[in-house]
């Protein structure tokens, strides 16, 4: 299939900075938002198409939110077998920074790049809210610009966001510091041990249910004490990766 939608969002093209690929699957919704977040953070957003077999030499990859393949079978289950995922899995195992947001997190779990699975919210409803999180691991490719234990607020919107894994896997994640983000105040979806995001052993692959790409520009983020929609806590997820790439 050709790539009719895999184009850079008008006005977000930039000439410099690390090249960060954003994969568009059929049913991806937040691919353009992720491209915009990359550009605002100082990177070059490179649109990638699910049918591509190459990553085109990008320096990092974002798997965006949405409902790839209509969430058929299980959320992320069909996307995991799309052509580009072979390249993403190979590159991730080689250390390429990979971020999965919401549906992207589900794809990473289905790909076994991250442990566990995401199941339907325990309260059976879709939920959309500004969510408080605690950053628990600042040594991943995507969290180096946060303070350990820092509390942030970014939007959350999911129907199948309950993180689940066998107890011994949860214990191992806790002991090895691989819980990256934890829900604070409210557990919005029944996730085990309030887990909102995890990383792989190497720290280059991070998946989280909330949407940092929706909190990157004043006027378009969550409400904060600074004002309505002024929250930009999501931006440092992208600047963390970009800073590491520039420095390397």
């Amino acid at each position: 299939m050709s790539a009719p939608v895999a184009e850079t969002v008008p006005g977000t093209a930039s000439g410099q900075g690390p090249r960060i690929g954003v994969v568009t699957f059929p049913g991806s919704l937040d691919d353009h938002d992720a491209q915009r977040a990359v550009t605002l953070a100082g990177g070059q957003a490179v649109p990638l198409w699910h049918g591509d077999t190459s990553l085109g030499g990008v320096d990092a990859v974002v798997l965006p939110g949405g409902f790839s393949y209509g969430d058929y079978l299980r959320a992320g289950a069909i996307a995991r077998f799309s052509a580009i995922m072979d390249a993403v899995i190979d590159a991730a195992k080689g250390g390429l920074p990979v971020l999965g947001i919401c549906n992207g997190f589900q794809v990473l779990c289905e790909s076994h790049l991250l442990p566990g699975a995401l199941v339907r919210n325990d309260h059976q409803k879709f939920i959309c809210r500004d969510q408080k999180l605690r950053v628990e691991n600042t040594s991943t490719s995507w969290t180096s610009q946060f303070e350990q234990g820092e509390e942030i607020v970014i939007p959350l919107k999911n129907g199948e966001g309950g993180f689940i894994a066998p107890e011994h896997v949860l214990d191992e994640l806790e002991q090895s510091g691989r819980v990256v983000f934890r829900y604070l105040d409210v557990n919005p979806n029944g996730s085990r041990r309030d887990i909102a995001g995890v990383t792989n052993e190497r720290g280059n692959v991070v998946g989280l249910m909330p949407h940092p790409e929706h909190a990157v520009e004043p006027g378009y983020g969550p409400d904060t004490r600074a004002g309505v929609r002024m929250g930009v806590d999501g931006q440092r997820i992208f600047t963390s990766a970009i800073a590491a790439l520039v420095g390397s």
């Binding site: 079978l73 299980r74 289950a77 077998f81 779990c109 289905e110 442990p115 566990g116 699975a117 199941v119 339907r120 919210n121 325990d122 309260h123 059976q124 689940i164 894994a165 066998p166 029944g190």
Partner: protein, 93 residues
Amino acid sequence: MGRVIVEVMPKPEILDPQGKAIATGLGRLGFTGFTGARQGKRFELEVDGPVTQEVLDAAAEAATQLLSNPVIEDVVSIRDASAEHSAQQVGQV
């Protein structure tokens, strides 16, 4: 043409919100005798020839790799549909 039936259920220890919603709905409709409900998935895989052991083995492989997620689901049945069909017909008579 042969058909293989694969059935997948959420693991017993995993909360099944869909089943819970169904159980609530049953109670509301007056089906008070059902104390619980769980929802799974049934797949029908078609093949050109008869359902041989080889076909069943391939279905088992597909069930593990794609049709189920072993973290949250169990494959509870893989069987030839033709056997089931005749059983249903007997039941209708």
